[in-house]
């Protein structure tokens, strides 16, 4: 817990998240979101999941942030115009939500992931395919979850395209 690398990366993640919400110019907010994702990738590296960290950078910062930036640049307020004003929520709400997330997070992480795999850094790659597709020991692989993920992606894409396009009267 007192590992200085962890403290720096966690601080960067949290500060990036706060900036992403509070920034007046949406493009700065999206860039701060990129810093947050970079921090999450750093946390993955600290947990010996370098493969996940590399793809966290590639998928989140490389694709999701780009999509957000594109949308903001085309549809958002022009720089120099008045920024969008939000209703300020109360401090009590903020404290309650943080407590809920903190307690929930610590409960989940202590019960759902029993113990650290003692494999070290190279283990996750030697068995990556097998753990994902065929499973190790008692669980039969994550193939069902993979198919569910594909259906979620299909629904998301078709939904996004249908909502975004305009119907012209023929």
């Amino acid at each position: 817990m007192t590992d200085p690398a962890f403290l720096v990366i966690a601080a960067a993640t949290v500060i990036g998240a706060i900036l992403a919400i509070e920034a007046r110019d949406l493009v700065y907010g999206a860039a701060a979101l990129g810093i947050t994702f970079l921090g999450v990738a750093g946390l993955f590296i600290l947990l010996d999941a370098t493969y996940v960290a590399a793809f966290q950078i590639a998928v989140y910062i490389g694709a999701v942030v780009v999509l957000i930036l594109f949308t903001v640049m085309l549809v958002g307020p022009v720089k120099g115009e008045a920024p969008i004003e939000h209703r300020r929520t109360s401090l009590m709400t903020a404290i309650l939500v943080s407590l809920m997330l903190g307690i929930g997070g610590s409960l989940v992480s202590s019960n759902a992931f029993p113990g650290v795999d003692a494999c070290g850094a190279s283990c996750d790659l030697q068995l990556l395919s097998q753990t994902l597709l065929l499973g190790s020991g008692s669980n039969g692989g994550y193939a069902i979850q993979l198919e569910l993920l594909s259906f979620v992606l299909v629904a998301a894409v078709i939904g996004a395209l249908t909502l975004a396009k305009t119907e012209r009267k023929a």
């Binding site: 860039a31 370098t50 590399a54 950078i57 910062i61 780009v66 720089k79 120099g80």
Partner: protein, 344 residues
């Protein structure tokens, strides 16, 4: 890592003379990246000029103008930094600098010989491709930050081109991963010397992966925004696209980032398809990797003189239909090769 003596001066000396630091600072690290980027600028201009029956840079030194880019560097460093009004200063300054940092980060992953490599990551190939994926974000921010029509159009075109061609780039390199069984770039090179045997010769991956190699070459040229994919720059149309408003040294940084990417992609192609530092006999492995990288650089530069420019909608349509389909076909072919032929 090593035990550092408590005295700061001798600690500095020990770090600076350690082999890892020398590799990072000199070769294949920072100093050589800067020099190679400058030399590649010259090489590009010289070869393109010869292809177009011109002479190219010739005045700056007796050796065919080879110091031209250093002269340009000195000239551009002293130019005034004019930032357009209402431009977003932070991203305007940040984007070309980060572009160079990205390019240098790419070089750090390539094994130029069994000893000369900065970082031997087990997840080398995905990290390389993840760095490449950061490039469209930077270009979009650069084009937007100048607050001027033409850079913004160039930035958007660049965004669609680079994102569209990045997926076939990734998928074509999956074929190599399937055959080598590792993401580690050193192990991929070694797999090309201990891999399958046909007629008594260990073939480099370019032979079974010829389709993947061609797709990789085409998509990496598109990633670097070189001709025939230079629509985002499009000199007569939109005045250098997203680089249009960059003054002086920032322009040099933007161009230099492009040439560092050229070097990095050629080096990666050499590593995963052409056997990296493998080569016969008495010549050292370092020579072979640099020689093959230079051959690939010259091939990509020659493409500039040979082809016209591809239009954006054609480019995107072919990228998402033809190249993506071919890349998936390459994965399928490699799968049947591995499952069917036990020697592979």
């Amino acid at each position: 890592m090593v035990d550092l003596p408590p005295d700061p001066i001798s600690m500095t000396i020990q770090i600076m003379t350690s082999p890892l630091f020398l590799k990072i600072a000199i070769f294949p690290g920072l100093a050589s990246i800067g020099i190679i980027a400058a030399l590649l600028t010259w090489l590009d201009r010289k070869i393109t000029a010869r292809v177009q029956l011109r002479i190219g840079p010739q005045y700056v030194s007796p050796l065919g103008g080879i110091l031209q880019s250093f002269a340009d560097l000195i000239k551009l460093a002293f130019k005034e930094l004019i930032i357009p009004e209402k431009a977003d200063r932070f991203f305007f300054l940040l984007a070309p600098i980060f572009g160079m940092v990205l390019g240098a980060g790419l070089i750090g992953l390539i094994p130029f010989s069994p000893e000369t490599l900065i970082s031997n990551l087990e997840v080398g190939l995905p990290v390389f491709l993840a760095f490449v994926t950061l490039s469209p974000t930077l270009v979009l921010l650069a084009g937007w930050s100048a607050n001027s029509k033409y850079p913004f159009i160039g930035g958007l075109r660049s965004l669609f081109q680079q994102t569209g061609y990045e997926i076939p780039l990734w998928l074509s390199s999956i074929g190599v991963v399937m055959m080598a069984g590792s993401f580690n770039l050193s192990k991929i090179v070694q797999a090309q010397s201990t891999g399958y045997v046909l007629f008594g010769v260990h073939w480099w991956f370019i032979v079974p992966q010829i389709l993947g190699a061609i797709i990789f070459l085409v998509t990496s040229v598109a990633e670097q925004e070189r001709i025939p994919f230079d629509l985002p720059e499009a000199e007569p149309e939109i005045i250098m696209g997203w680089q249009a408003e960059y003054p002086g040294f920032l322009f040099l940084a933007a161009q230099g980032a492009g040439f560092i990417k050229l070097y990095a992609f050629s080096a990666l192609f050499t590593t995963i398809y052409l056997g990296g530092y493998l080569g016969p006999g008495p010549l050292p492995p370092l020579f072979w990797s640099i020689f093959k990288t230079t051959v690939m650089v010259v091939v990509v530069i020659l493409l500039r003189g040979a082809f016209g420019r591809v239009r954006l909608d054609q480019l995107l349509r072919y990228g998402w239909t033809l190249l993506l389909g071919l890349a998936i076909a390459n994965i399928a072919i490699t799968y049947f090769l591995i499952e069917g032929i036990p020697a592979i």
